[in-house]
Amino acid sequence: MEKKNIITRRTALITGVSAMGSILLGGCSKPTPPTYGHLLRMGDIFTYEAQRSLLNVRALSKEYNRADISSFPATGSINPSNPSLPGFSKDYELLHRKLRCKSS
């Protein structure tokens, strides 16, 4: 009789579960953010752990040239010292004026 060389469902399941276990165990030493019993937060933690176990933790993000800078929207105000813009801050305007006096 020739031995059947197929992967049965059982072996596939065992391999899959043990692979998942190794992903989850990899992050056990470090504390994870709280989930508050929220399903989406649990999914986020799974993503987080998978990234930290599968990716190179020393990888650096891509560098770009000065020419690659693009126009971009500001979060909040661009210049809080300008009273005509939304997000104006009186304290910041004072600080800004002081700094300008010092430099000139």
């Binding site: 989406l40 990888a59 126009s71």
Partner: protein, 250 residues
């Protein structure tokens, strides 16, 4: 249909096909739902590395209040030079629910990954792909193509039991499994700065993170189109029969 008498003909779908089909369906529907929500937050697509509200878009979708909202403070130059890049603050309260949309998208993507890997491993090693999905050589003729397209345009099409698929069916399944799903998974990963830091080639093959987002969107459109045609064909070949074959029939 070409009958191959040398191998036993299975009558209905295997249990692992049913499980991966329905778990994958759940994941896919959640992905479409959260994907539309994510597009609503920023209904613009770009090409290249960067893209934002102050840059020209490749496409814009009129699907949320963020479309052409126009609420900007006067733009200011970033550099002290003529034709400088600009920045501007928003004066308009945009629809900005990125948190749950992205979390749900990722959770649903994990569901798809698990059902997809479960399917692929068994499908490859059990011979399902070789025997049932890759067309036979004698099947791959122009005549079969024309015949099947004509059949599909009629009001009802033949009901094929279990994993005996027609030529167009085989080709569309292969396209979904080996072209569209890998493309959508890889372009999704390309949008993650953590992943492209480890695998920068992803940014090269998809022309940048924003191009990856655009390709991701169009792959999703093709998958939704597949889903609609899939359901249409199930209705045409007997909705109840097909649904029973994919669930309780053994």
């Amino acid at each position: 249909m070409s009958e191959n008498t040398s191998r036993p003909v299975k009558t209905y779908h295997s249990l692992w096909v049913k499980i991966s089909h329905w778990v994958g369906t759940l994941g896919f529907l959640l992905l479409v739902f959260s994907g539309v929500e994510i597009i609503m937050v920023h209904p613009r697509l770009y090409w290249g590395n960067a893209g934002n509200d102050l840059m020209p878009a490749l496409f814009e979708f009129p699907i949320s209040r963020n479309y052409h909202h126009g609420g900007w403070a006067p733009a200011q130059a970033i550099f002290d030079q003529p034709n400088s890049l600009i920045s501007a603050g928003r004066t308009y309260d945009i629809f900005n629910q990125n948190g749950w949309g992205r979390s749900l998208h990722f959770l649903a993507a994990w569901i798809m990954v698990f059902s997809g890997v479960y399917y692929l491993v068994i499908a490859i090693f059990s011979g399902h792909i070789k025997n049932n999905l890759i067309p036979r050589l004698k099947e791959l003729t122009f005549e079969t193509f024309v015949k099947e397209i004509k059949e599909h345009l009629k009001s009802s099409i033949a009901y094929l039991k279990g994993p005996q698929y027609g030529l167009l069916q085989k080709l569309s399944y292969l396209m979904v499994i080996f072209i569209l799903l890998p493309t959508i998974a890889l372009t999704g990963l390309t949008m993650s700065p953590a992943i492209t830091a480890s695998y920068p080639f992803l940014l090269t093959i998809f022309f940048g993170a924003q191009s990856a987002r655009t390709i991701h969107f169009f792959a999703a459109v093709l998958l939704v189109l597949f889903l609609l045609i899939h359901i249409w064909m199930i209705v045409k070949s007997g909705f109840k029969k097909q649904l029973l074959a994919m669930t309780v029939k053994k």
